[in-house]
Symmetry: C2
Subunit: 333 residues, 2 copies
């Protein structure tokens, strides 16, 4: 197969979503998010996961046209119910809501319960930054990592995004608390490659760079060992308490990746600065990072989000490579 | 020397502070924080750092009786100037302020510029939790880690605390974004011990467990390699932009550990729940973590803050061990 264009991919996904009872507006936004995630090089949370997403629609875990509803408002902190709607759509709409809340109060927080996998959290960070806002958001997940000094999974890898607007390229960090996201491990396993750094433990309890071995034990490694495990516990506590929704432990009872809790924190920096002033602060920080001396001669030091911009530009021009097996699956949906 | 009691330590520090022009109220609170940090086992940000703290008072980098003043209010997000007052006192008072803000708005955020090293951020997390509130706070620091793929320092280790109240023991995470805080590395170096996991790079550019070698290169390792480096960049961007204060790069220009920016985010969970209901959620999460099967038979799995409670209890009973060299230094202040 040849590479396909962003528009072609988006239309393909749109048609499948409509076929599975998504209303036009929802199919439009949902296909845009999945296609964009793929466009920027995160196929693991784009096209590669689309079949699984449709399966959850079919099984009733994702309700195509459900929208978030307000449960409680405490001023600048609101609690929302995702009503088991599609994760990317719920998260997109809650991002829009916290942007409004931050315009009113400087900062706005929405905690969302009963939602579904949001795919790539960076998508919401980029959107908020594009609108000139700062966003921090994270989700809990089913238990997929052991706490420190344990061997059975009891904490999530609880991905987080932090986004800051900048006219020379938004700064957007998008990461899970495991050293490697399972999506990434899955890619390494499929391609039979070793991880560059240990990503978990093997059956003998040793740190391993073999993705398949880590899948076997389900002992993926938290970033910074005990530190990432600690962050995972706190992210889960905050998500469950602030939203009134399910904890990682609750989610583990069904083992279906559905019903999670999320937190969105948004700032409106225009309250304090002109866009130019924010840029100046951000530029100075990013330049100081990029000016650090590379460990290997000729290498370049990048900032969070930089490669996303490059990949997006390249894929818009050359089309998006999609693994043939994945593309074949999509045809059957 | 024998162990000394919490009260004896506090009075000793109080007298030194008064001798260095601290007003009674400020000396009272400041000595309490330093003594408490030592009591809970974090001497590296308690008694072991007290001489350096006094030196910064003497050199005029810390102004003993300066207090934070409000610069801007945008509703639930406020900007404060720390006026180069003592870091622990500024942070304590801003914690009290965000608690009030969260009572008004559900969530309250204060960003603080021109402050000084706050010592142990956990101190503020514990205090907020003790008052029934959820607190997230972090600071930027001078550049003490290289960004990923670089060998010269350009990012801070930007410690963060996240605290959730719980009647069976608050859950309080307190960590730097380096695999080991420099305070910890300093202890390992002094005691001539190897780190249990690599904590940075040696002069040959290899990952190392030797604290002295890491001091030589100043290449301490971010948690999760590129992930912790990314978090450090975002924490710095947020601290500088939200407060209007100095960035890590700015702080690096003087190389004095003074004038940093901090962010405090506080929630009032009583808006949504009874204290009992919060406890139930937190208990269920903590129990699920502690019930994970230990990797080594007979080992126990702990949650963030658990050992602090145990150490505190033990030291209140047995007295606090203070390294003789440190104690001798204190006598000369």
């Amino acid at each position: 197969m040849t590479n396909i264009s962003f528009d072609e991919l988006k239309i393909k996904l749109f048609n499948i979503l409509v076929k599975h009872d998504f209303e036009i507006e929802n199919a439009e936004l949902c296909s845009k998010i999945f296609a964009e995630n793929t466009l920027v090089g995160v196929a693991s949370h784009g096209i590669n996961r689309f079949s699984a997403f449709i399966n959850l629609v079919k099984s009733g875990h994702i309700i195509p046209n459900a929208k978030p509803t307000l449960v409680n408002s405490f001023g600048a902190w609101e609690q929302w119910d995702g009503n088991l709607g599609p994760g990317p759509l719920n998260a997109w709409r809650i991002t829009e809501r916290v942007i409004e809340l931050s315009k009113e109060n400087g900062v706005g927080v929405a905690a969302l319960k009963n939602t579904n996998h949001w795919m790539r959290p960076g998508a919401f960070g980029w959107e908020a930054a594009e609108r000139g806002h700062i966003l921090i958001c994270w989700t809990n997940t089913i238990p997929i990592m052991p706490p420190w000094k344990a061997k059975t999974p009891a904490v999530g890898n609880n991905p987080i995004t932090m986004a800051v607007p900048r006219s020379n390229g938004h700064v957007v960090l998008d990461m899970a608390l495991s050293q490697y996201a399972y999506g990434k491990l899955s890619t390494f396993r499929r391609e039979g490659k070793e991880l560059p750094y240990p990503g978990g433990f093997d059956t003998e309890g040793k740190l391993s760079t073999n993705a398949a071995a880590i899948y076997d034990t389900q002992r993926s490694l938290p970033i910074g060992y005990w530190k990432g495990a600690g962050l995972a516990i706190l992210f889960d506590l905050l998500a469950a308490i602030l939203s009134g929704g399910k904890s990682t432990n609750d989610l583990g009872k069904t083992r279906v990746d559905s019903g999670m809790s999320q937190v969105f924190i948004c700032f409106d920096p225009s309250k304090s600065y002109s866009a130019e002033a924010i840029n100046n602060i951000a530029d100075e920080i990013i330049e100081s990072v990029k000016n650090a001396e590379p460990a290997n001669k000729g290498a370049s030091v990048s900032y969070p989000g930089e490669r996303i911009i490059e990949t997006r530009k390249k894929n818009l021009k050359d089309g998006i490579y999609i693994h043939p097996e994945i593309w074949e699956k999509i045809q059957r949906l």
